[in-house]
């Protein structure tokens, strides 16, 4: 795995608080046995008008944001279901980071394991960036995971990322499987000490 120290890209806003994983990927798209075809379902009910079947005027549909690879959003992003289909569908649409006021825990963990940083910032900073990219969609937004700072145009603001996630991403060890597997003896010892195993 490669180290993820910065994410640079264009940003798009998905406004709102408590955006749940049913919004991110409706259940109807989860009838699958691999994650390969999940891109289409991302935010489907937000992007498509249920009455007409036509695309809505949501920023995600706007041609000017077509190249966006960073999502800007509100509080408690990714709450609800544990479905990894949610971050997978976002990732498979080319997104590589999310900046929110806060994240739901399972979504956060799923995203980090995928190598998609989720950083938190204040409502004011996100609103300002959001307003700026709405006017200037070509803006390069840069997330520095080591300095924990977002920069765009001539501005910057601090972001937060728990230290374990920061370490995992910047050292390229965000997928823990190899390390987990390397501790076979310790796993067996723990298991043997449990009265029920």
């Amino acid at each position: 795995m490669s180290e993820i120290k910065t994410v640079v890209g264009k940003a798009v806003t998905v406004a709102g608080n408590d955006i749940d994983t049913d919004r991110i990927i409706p259940a109807k798209f989860m009838k699958c046995v691999t994650f390969d075809d999940l891109a289409e379902g991302m935010f489907y009910d937000v992007k498509v008008n249920p009455n007409t079947g036509e695309l809505t005027d949501h920023p995600l549909n706007a041609p000017k944001h077509a190249e966006a690879s960073i999502i800007l959003t509100g509080e408690n992003f990714g709450c609800g279901s544990s479905r990894e289909h949610a971050p997978q569908s976002i990732y498979r649409n080319g997104f590589r980071a999310i900046i929110a006021e806060s994240f739901a825990e399972i979504f956060f963990g799923n995203s980090i394991t995928l190598g998609m940083p989720c950083v938190s910032a204040s409502s004011e900073d996100i609103s300002a960036l959001s307003a700026y990219v709405a006017e200037n969609p070509e803006t390069e937004v840069s997330i520095d995971l080591e300095a924990l700072k977002v920069s765009y145009a001539d501005k910057s603001f601090p972001v937060e990322l728990p230290s374990s996630a920061k370490m995992a991403l910047t050292s390229g060890r965000f997928d823990p499987l190899t390390e987990l597997m390397s501790n076979g003896a310790a796993i067996e010892k723990t298991a043997e000490a449990l009265p029920y195993v």
């Binding site: 691999t34 544990s82 806060s102 374990s164 995992a168 997928d175």
Partner: protein, 470 residues
């Protein structure tokens, strides 16, 4: 200094510290279902990895199963494919699987306790956020993503950071017509949908002491709706009585030994908590949601919130968004809101005691004209128990459709879906936009008895008035 159950269980399962600072946590019991596991098995196959402790994983099928016709092959080819895939994975990797033909199939969070697989002091994980349910037994149980399902299959461990513990203490007796579901919706209303992020909730107090296991499960189930990844109740005699004699419970001499062990895990009297919240049971009313997040609840006698009275601009915006979606008038009584569908089921309220209590009041009443009402038992065993008690007949005579076990309209991955902007009185746990299968469908969460009251009246009603509960 004493310890909480959470700390004791965490320490017993702590394999070591990983390089990013997280804990490698041993998971005693792994539950899987058809939606979030196939990709994980695929990843194992790609890497040629075996399942380390196949006997510690249990599978069932719940999300995609139809609840009317379950004959093979299922009419939906995609659903059939998922079913086949789970069968194949269980077979190939040597995992116990409660298939449709087993007589033990059901919603994964109903099956675990029913079989006695869920026990105190275990760590339990499942690729499903409502795994918190199992905390009712004094287990540390939480939902995980599919990549973690892979980690768990491969190593029986996952990487995890320790949570803080908040004590949520509810004391006193619930008033007649008030149920565990109302307690859950009330807690969420107080603490918010994200109030529990970073916490495990320890539910305690005399209200919980007096609760049955089913009631405890209803509340732990919804811990995640309040942002808490897990919730638990300390094990006690109620827990042991529930477990004794179940297929996977310890037997003979081992039983008594295990009970002593379980007792030792309960939080110590002098345990220290990161936060404490106290609630008076008598303050809780039958509660219904009015918005699109489970914390947007009010008592049935209250008025729908008015954005004008919001305490912040963010709150105002979320009220407006919720009311626009729900098509509900600000400031009007919620009671009397017309419904189209009534759904009784799910891992929150699809157990025998839920159907029993609802049937007690439904008997002799009829579902209002034009209302589609469905009752879906949480497991095949629940269905049989209901039949033995004649509960299915009570529902059918009242005009409910009595279905086969599954998740059904809780998330509508099967054919049970809302149509258009239908509004549903539901005993499930999520009122998110589009949750029940229509992207403009509307959900109102409530207790099972409130669901049958709504079905009978054709509108949101106070069950205490409809059924003369005193």
């Amino acid at each position: 200094m004493g310890k909480t159950l959470y700390e004791k269980v965490w320490e017993a399962h702590n394999v070591g510290t990983l390089s990013d600072g997280r804990t490698q946590l041993f998971i005693g019991t792994h539950l899987i279902h058809e939606v979030t596991s196939p990709q994980a098995f695929g990843m194992l196959r790609d890497k040629g990895i075996k399942v380390k402790y196949p006997e510690r994983t249990f599978a069932t099928v719940d999300h995609i199963v139809p609840t009317d016709d379950q004959s093979s092959p299922l009419s939906d080819p995609l659903a059939e494919k998922m079913l086949q895939e789970l069968r194949k994975n269980a077979d190939e990797f040597g995992i116990t699987y409660f298939d449709l033909a087993s007589g033990k199939q059901g919603i994964v969070h109903v099956v675990g306790p029913e079989q006695g697989i869920t026990q105190p002091g275990m760590t339990i994980a499942c690729g499903d956020s409502h795994t918190a349910t199992h905390g009712a037994f004094g287990a540390i149980a939480f939902g995980i993503g599919t990549t973690q399902v892979r980690d768990l299959l491969a190593t029986q461990t996952i990487a995890m950071a320790k949570l803080k513990v908040r004590k949520v203490k509810v004391d006193g007796k619930l008033r007649p017509g008030v149920y565990a579901k109302d307690v859950s919706l009330h807690i969420m209303r107080l603490l918010g949908a994200k109030g529990g992020i970073g916490f495990a909730y320890e539910y305690c107090g005399s209200t919980f002491d007096n609760f049955t296991m089913e009631e405890r499960m209803t509340i732990c189930n919804m811990a995640i709706e309040g942002g808490a990844r897990c919730g638990y109740v300390n094990p006690d005699q109620t827990t042991f009585d529930f477990l004794e004699g179940r297929p996977y419970s310890p037997k003979g001499e081992a039983w008594q030994e295990r009970v002593e062990y379980w007792k030792s895990l309960a939080s110590d009297a002098d345990a220290v908590y990161d936060d404490v919240v106290e609630i008076n049971a008598a303050d809780i009313e039958p509660t219904v949601t009015w918005g699109v997040s489970p914390d947007q609840g009010i008592s049935i006698g209250e008025l729908i919130p008015d954005p004008k009275n919001a305490t912040s601009t963010a709150e105002k915006a979320s009220f407006e968004e919720a009311l626009e979606y729900m098509k509900l008038p600000a400031g009007a009584p919620i009671k009397g809101t017309k419904i189209d569908v009534a759904f009784l089921g799910s891992c929150t309220n699809g157990r025998l005691s839920d159907f029993r209590e609802a049937a007690k009041y439904l008997k002799g009443h009829k579902v209002a004209d034009g209302i589609k009402a469905i009752a879906v038992p949480g497991s095949q065993i629940t269905a049989i128990q209901c039949k033995q008690e004649g509960i299915d007949k009570v529902f059918e005579e009242a005009g409910f459709e009595w279905r086969e076990a599954g998740c059904s309209m809780c998330l509508a991955m099967n054919p049970d879906k809302l149509i258009g902007d239908q509004i549903c009185a539901s005993s499930s746990n999520r009122n998110f936009k589009g949750r029940q299968g229509s992207s403009i469908g509307r959900t109102v969460l409530m207790s099972p008895v409130m669901v049958v009251a709504a079905a009978v009246k054709g509108e949101l009603a106070d069950a205490r008035e409809v059924f003369d509960v005193a």
